[in-house]
C-alpha cells in the first residue's frame, strides 16, 4: 500500500518549475470548465417546467425551485465566488462549496431523464482540489495529491465501465450487431438535433461490415478494462493515450463528443510539465535530472526519507 501511494502521488519527488506552471494551467482549466458548466446549466434550467427523473440530491429536495431564474443564477454566482476564493487560496474550502453548488445545478439541469457522464471526470478532479486544499498546507503536496487523485478515479471510472458491460451483457457485448443498433440510435439523435439524416464514413463501415463493428467493440472494451493501468506512472502515457483513442472511436462511430473530458485527458496524457521544464532550462537533453517526470516516473525501490516538516509551505 505504501509503495502504491508513493507511485500514485509522488510526494517525495523533486518539484520543478515546469510542474508548478503546468498545475497552474491545469487548475485554471478545471476552474474555467467548472464555471462554464455552472453558468450553462443555470441558463438551461430556465426552459424546464417539470422534474421527470430526479438525480442525486434531487431525490431529497425539490430542485424545480432552480427553474426560477434568480435562484439558478444566484447559485452560479456563489459558485463563481467560491472558485475564485479557492483558486486564489483565500478560502481553503472554496472548492468544497463550488462542488456542492455544482452538484445542485447538475441535479436541476439533468432532471429530464438523461443521465449524462460528460461532467463526471471534471467533477472528480474538482473533488480532488476540494480535498487537497483543506488537507494539506504545502502547495507541492496539494498539487501532487490532486493529480494522483485524478488519475486514480479516472482509471477506476473507465475500468468500472468495462465491468458494467461484462456484468450486464457478458462477453457477447462485443457482438458487432450491438454497435450497429447504437449507430442507428445516434443517427436519430443527429436527425432530431439538426434535421438532416446521414451516416459518417466510419458509421457506414460499421453498418456494412459486421467484423469492423465487432473489432471496434473489442478494442473499446479492452481499453476500458486496462484503464486502471494509469495508476502506475510508467504506464500513464500509453494508457491515457489509449483512452483518448477510445474517445476518438466513440466520436467516429457514435458522434458523441466529451469535449471537456477529452481536453482534460490531453492535459493528463502528455508530459507537459517536462516540456515546460525543458523550454525554461533551454536544453534538449532527455536525462532524468533535467526533465524529471514525477507523474510518469516509477517510485524508487526503497522508501525515500521522510521530510523533516511535511506541512511547511513549499517554495512557489
Amino acid at each position: 500500500m505504501t509503495r502504491f501511494l508513493h507511485q500514485l502521488f509522488g510526494f517525495h519527488v523533486t518539484d520543478t518549475r515546469g510542474e508548478r506552471l503546468f498545475f497552474y494551467a491545469f487548475e485554471l482549466f478545471v476552474a474555467a470548465c467548472t464555471l462554464k458548466y455552472a453558468w450553462s446549466w443555470a441558463a438551461h434550467v430556465q426552459q424546464l417546467g417539470d422534474v421527470v427523473l430526479p438525480l442525486g440530491i434531487a431525490q431529497y429536495i425539490d430542485v424545480s425551485v432552480f427553474f426560477e431564474s434568480w435562484i439558478a443564477y444566484g447559485a452560479a454566482g456563489l459558485l463563481t465566488a467560491s472558485v475564485v476564493l479557492g483558486a486564489l487560496r483565500w478560502w481553503r474550502y472554496g472548492y468544497v462549496a463550488a462542488l456542492l453548488l455544482l452538484h445542485l445545478l447538475f441535479a436541476a439541469r439533468y432532471s429530464q431523464g438523461e443521465i449524462p457522464h460528460s461532467s463526471n471526470v471534471l467533477g472528480m478532479t474538482l473533488l480532488g482540489l476540494a480535498l487537497a486544499l483543506p488537507a494539506f498546507d504545502a502547495e507541492r503536496l496539494r498539487r501532487r495529491f490532486t493529480i494522483g487523485f485524478t488519475y486514480f478515479f479516472i482509471g477506476l471510472g473507465y475500468t468500472s465501465s468495462a465491468v458494467c458491460k461484462l456484468v450486464a451483457t457478458g462477453p457477447q457485448w462485443v457482438d458487432g450487431h450491438h454497435l450497429q443498433l447504437w449507430v442507428h440510435e445516434k443517427s436519430i439523435d443527429v436527425f432530431a438535433a439538426t434535421g438532416s439524416f446521414n451516416f459518417t464514413f466510419a458509421q457506414e463501415m460499421v453498418l456494412e461490415y459486421y467484423w469492423i463493428a465487432t473489432l471496434f467493440l473489442i478494442i473499446g472494451l479492452v481499453t476500458e478494462s486496462l484503464a486502471i493501468s494509469m495508476w502506475w506512472p510508467r504506464l500513464r502515457i500509453p494508457t491515457v493515450l489509449a483512452v483518448l483513442g477510445l474517445h476518438a472511436g466513440i466520436y467516429l462511430t457514435m458522434r458523441i463528443v466529451f469535449a471537456i473530458t477529452t481536453l482534460e485527458l490531453i492535459l493528463l496524457a502528455l508530459p507537459w510539465a517536462c516540456l515546460v521544464t525543458r523550454v525554461l532550462n533551454g536544453t534538449s537533453s532527455s536525462t532524468d535530472e533535467e526533465c524529471p517526470l514525477p507523474h510518469f516516473r516509477a517510485a524508487p525501490t526503497t522508501e525515500p526519507p521522510v521530510h523533516a516538516d511535511p506541512g511547511a509551505p513549499a517554495s512557489a
Partner: protein, 161 residues
C-alpha cells in the same frame, strides 16, 4: 509511512467508501460518482424523439407509426431552437401518464416556437429483428399548436395528483 502520505491514503480510502456507499444506494449514480453503466446493456431496443413541423398541413393527424420515408411535415431541428434532443427523448419515453402538468412541461420546451409553428412530437423506436437488421419506427405522440394540444389516443392521460 510519512504523515502526508498517510493522510493522502486515508482521503483516497475515505473517498472510495463514500463513492461505494452513494452509488450502491442510488442506482449507480450520484454525481460526480458513477459506475458508468452507459451502453452496458447491449442489444436492447431503444427509444428517441424527433419533432416535425406540420404548420399549414391541412390533413388531420394520423396517430399510426410510420417509417422515416413517410414522415409528415418537415424536419424541425431542435438544436437551433435551443431544445436538447436527449431531454426531449427522455421526457417522451419516461412519461407514463400525460397529465396536464406533463403536457405543460412539454409545451414549455417549445414555448417560443409555438407562436409560429405547429409541431408534432414523435417517439422513435429502434430494435434488432430476427434477421439481425435494425428496424426503426416513428410514432406520433403529441400535437402542439399555439393554443391547444392533442395527445395520441393510445397514451394514458390523467389529472395531476
Amino acid at each position: 509511512m510519512s504523515d502526508p502520505l498517510r493522510r493522502a491514503g486515508r482521503l483516497l480510502v475515505g473517498t472510495l467508501l463514500v463513492y461505494a456507499l452513494l452509488v450502491a444506494t442510488h442506482k449507480g449514480e450520484f454525481w460526480p460518482f458513477s459506475i458508468y453503466p452507459m451502453f452496458s446493456q447491449a442489444g436492447n431496443s431503444w427509444s428517441r424523439a424527433v419533432v416535425r413541423d406540420v404548420s399549414g398541413d391541412s390533413a388531420s393527424v394520423e396517430w399510426s407509426s410510420v417509417s422515416r420515408e413517410h414522415l409528415p411535415g418537415r424536419p424541425f431541428a431542435l438544436r437551433p431552437h435551443g431544445v436538447n434532443n436527449i431531454d426531449l427523448a427522455n421526457f417522451v419515453s419516461k412519461t407514463e401518464t400525460w397529465t396536464p402538468r406533463r403536457v405543460n412541461g412539454l409545451r414549455s420546451l417549445f414555448a417560443d416556437d409555438l407562436t409560429d409553428h405547429t409541431l408534432l412530437v414523435m417517439r422513435v423506436n429502434g430494435e434488432m429483428n430476427e434477421g439481425d437488421s435494425v428496424v426503426v419506427n416513428f410514432v406520433p405522440y403529441v400535437y402542439l399548436e399555439a393554443d391547444s394540444t392533442a395527445v395520441a389516443p393510445f397514451l394514458p392521460t390523467g389529472s395531476d395528483g
